[in-house]
Symmetry: C2
Subunit: 350 residues, 2 copies
């Protein structure tokens, strides 16, 4: 699957738009020379940049629009007023099969609302979720939901499990990823009703992934499972807590090396290695949250991401498109429905 | 307040009991020479150690009991069968006013259940919570609940706010600590119903602390507020996620310094400073979770803690007792009741 692939870009989303978007798209062409872009944005902002980025220009089809979704606009307002926005047009390109995926650094809530409306959810999916990679002691894992659904029932958690393992199979190339439900303990009676019900269903339902059971907060960074499944409230808090902890540690480390002349000298010697460490925990490497459960690939890049971060988000969209991710997931939901019609206990949505 | 103070110790709790408990108690005497201990445990395990620790022996009154609460025993079973256990007797010492506080590294659920039954909650407290300190970019903050209550309503969260700020006033010495509710965003409409109701109450109720509003996961390590208030599910996941992230980072750091000869040399030069860094993120420094809302001081030391960790937990118990923490909190709950009877909106428990 190395034929040409078109990705739709919202040039106007994010704190550093359109510069970070276009420079990121340019950067991504190095790793993915067979990608074309459909770029939506304001011509007066986009075209001067395109003139400078020659390699990019050859890969771009540009569509002008005046409308932009503001970063603070409520999703409902964005849906009503942003019909001609760069974000919406980029999503519509996926719906109309002009592009295989859309990438935006814009307003998360608006992007999710528009993507849901335009692309619809796959059969068997009640609610889409937001998923992302993160580094672990064993490599990389996936976590979802990171904030789309504050309250989740057991069916949502079961569906997230299917979505997350499909994602890990496609992008991490694991044939049968392990997955676990995030909880406050690993014993069966731990947690709330939704977790206990979901675990009961997952224990008896044959899925593409391997159900590990419950995992705890420290299992996230340990890499105990390939996919950590949780509600959007807990996932969002866990993700941001981890980010905050990395920043705190980095701050402490900086203070340590400024602590004495010897330490400063030590830092100088270790500098090339430290640069590798920074790259390893660099959030830009993990940029790109995927909206899972939709009938199309939508990747949300961090609002503050620079060109390198945006290039990573594009890379993720390309990987998903090349691996036929939507088809994988569609099949997995057909299997889930069959499994649950058969042997699995039916549990009423709470 | 430097008179003599008695602390009750469960010598048999934790992975390294009774060695870590007794050596920790010995260590704590250096910083707190005016402390006596009431020690409960098996004489055949405890007395040989006491013979070796001479300074400790002079500060100890030892009470033999054969019974020990196992680390995997359910709280309900521990309540029924552990009436003569070292854990229960240590708690009863606080109830009977023989000691000002109890410290145990034993089974958390059993300790909480026994402490609740024996010490009772303070007037105005529906459910006790578990609180602990953690390091931040601005110093130290407090977080609660860390796992006692998986599901919380708005009244619980309001009460946790009072408990947490009373704790921060006593131990951090802040006259009016700032506190915030952990959420997935800072806007008013974010989060679930319990959070929105709790925020509405806290905005209009005059408390000893200053209500900051909602905070997010990355605010924990930033130290945005002195007290982070959350339900026991989210707090437990956030705490363990942060712990796991610190371990991951430390692992990456270790690999970095092994990366090349130059980096190893750099490490040697920076070693004294690195030791300070390790001390700064050393979980033993933050050992000691407090059960808040009880009519008595109960401190839970980590099950895996060593002597140094246990000494920190004792230090925390001493600080709380010296600062008249229970009286502070009792008064704060009288104020809360008065404030809510008066101007504050009454919100039905959900």
């Amino acid at each position: 699957m190395t034929g040409r692939l078109t990705i739709a870009l919202d040039a106007m989303g994010g704190d550093h738009a359109p510069g970070a978007v276009l420079r990121g798209a340019n950067l991504a062409l190095r790793r993915h020379p067979n990608v074309n872009y459909l770029v939506y944005g304001r011509s007066e902002d986009v075209e001067p940049l395109l003139r400078k980025l020659k390699r990019l220009r050859r890969a771009v089809e540009f569509v002008h629009t005046d409308e932009v979704v503001g970063s603070d606009v409520k999703p409902s307002v964005a849906l009503r007023t942003g019909r001609k926005s760069s974000m919406r047009l980029a999503i519509e390109a996926v719906k109309g099969n002009l592009a295989k995926a859309v990438v935006s650094s814009g307003n998360t809530g608006a992007l999710m609302a528009m993507a849901k409306l335009a692309l619809r959810t796959l059969p068997g999916v009640d609610r889409p979720a937001i998923a992302s990679f993160f580094p672990t002691q064993r490599g990389e894992s996936v976590m979802l939901d990171l904030g789309a659904n504050v309250i989740c029932d057991s069916d949502n958690l079961v569906q997230f499990s299917v979505m997350g393992t499909a994602f890990a199979r496609s992008v991490l190339g694991l044939p049968a990823p392990s997955f676990g439900l995030l909880n406050v303990g690993t014993e069966e009676m731990k947690g709330n009703e939704a977790l206990q019900e979901a675990a009961a269903i997952l224990r008896t339902t044959n899925l593409a992934g391997q159900f590990h059971g419950f995992v705890e907060g420290d299992d996230i960074a340990k890499g105990t499972v390939d996919v950590v499944v949780t509600d959007g409230f807990t996932g969002n808090v866990a993700l941001k807590t981890a980010e905050g902890t990395v920043k705190l540690y980095t701050e402490f480390l900086r203070a340590t090396f400024r602590h004495s002349l010897l330490a400063s000298l030590g830092y100088l010697l270790a500098k090339p290695a430290m640069r590798k460490l920074r790259a390893r925990v660099d959030p830009r490497r993990y940029n790109g949250a995927v909206f899972l459960g939709l009938n199309g690939i939508a990747v949300k890049s961090h609002g503050g991401s620079d060109a390198l971060g945006f290039a990573h988000a594009i890379g993720l969209a390309v990987d998903l498109a090349r691996h036929g991710f939507i088809e994988t997931m569609r099949e997995d939901f057909v299997s889930l429905a069959a499994a649950r019609d058969g042997t699995a206990p039916r549990v009423a949505a709470s």
